[in-house]
Symmetry: C2
Subunit: 187 residues, 2 copies
Amino acid sequence: MELGKTAYVILGMLGKQPMSGYEIKAKADISTRFFWAISYGQIYPELKRLEQAGLIAGEDEAGSGRGKRVYSITPPGREALHAWLTDPGELQSELRHEGVLRFFFADSLDHDERLALLASIRAKHKRIQAELAAIEPGASAHAAETGDRLVLLTLETGIAYQQFFVDLCDRLERRLAEESDQTTGED
Amino acid sequence: MELGKTAYVILGMLGKQPMSGYEIKAKADISTRFFWAISYGQIYPELKRLEQAGLIAGEDEAGSGRGKRVYSITPPGREALHAWLTDPGELQSELRHEGVLRFFFADSLDHDERLALLASIRAKHKRIQAELAAIEPGASAHAAETGDRLVLLTLETGIAYQQFFVDLCDRLERRLAEESDQTTGED
DNA sequence: ATCACCATGTAAATCGTTACATGATTAT
DNA sequence: ATAATCATGTAACGATTTACATGGTGAT
């Protein structure tokens, strides 16, 4: 039985603690979202499939609200999770970045338009970085409580990743300025 | 008429010079692929759609091989390309990175397994970086010929991007080593 | 001859997002 | 009361990949 990466996001989340589908989404939105996003449209059907496969077990929580269903990882689920985490095969990775794509095709733009594009890219990554920074205190506290430091390290990775693009825009802007110096007076 | 990003990759490529679908794929594979991949399954149907919309014009090249069809961008196509390049709306960007995802869930792994994961991530990005470095001489020559420097800058961006992950793995490895020092002798 | 590469194209499958429907609980 | 949040779920749509089918041309 082949599992998609999204199944492992769910399995990984349940490996940390039992949760409902709604809680998985909430946790993912402040952590894995920045390097592997998931949506409700995937979560609920996948939870059913994983339960049928015996990798997780769901239990209806009585009383509180509308029938909330909390899932826990089973021993076979933990095995599957471990197998994935240590799988020596090729790691999937994919970037779809409209900003860099536009820059690649920006030859036909004038100087100001190019600068505006870089400013727009930088603004976007700064905004996401601020979002991540806002999460950090909570993640820090969580790390101290549970001893799970990787969550915090991963968050710092996310912040550094955004910073890469901010720095990139600065660098590219400087490069464009140099080129424009060289051609000043020519056209 | 709404165009997907993939349509703009094609339009952007044809904005640089007239090409066949096959050539678009070949060019994309050594340039945009690393931040926006496209496949034949998208290219050929999209070329037809763009031609019907009047944004590109195809011409059958007689003689050479099986009916090769070379497309050129039209003035309305150039307008659409410019409109996209300067669109002030939100820039799409998305990362799906299995390596970082696994690291986030690596709490259940032992020390050696975690190191192996980091080594695997580093190896992957070094490999892609080497691929990109191999392309650089050609891109340099192209920049000198056509005066289009952005293609080269974008390639350098790709190389720096891979380096980010290499550095990241180094940093994370050091962090793990520090933690393991602290706990030595405890368990 | 046979392999690599040029070249076009489609069908099926997979993956993922978005929008919608529904309804309870809790805080203001 | 009413807004926000908790909570589950599905249908439709869109995007993308993969595998397949086809056949020419040029080099070894």
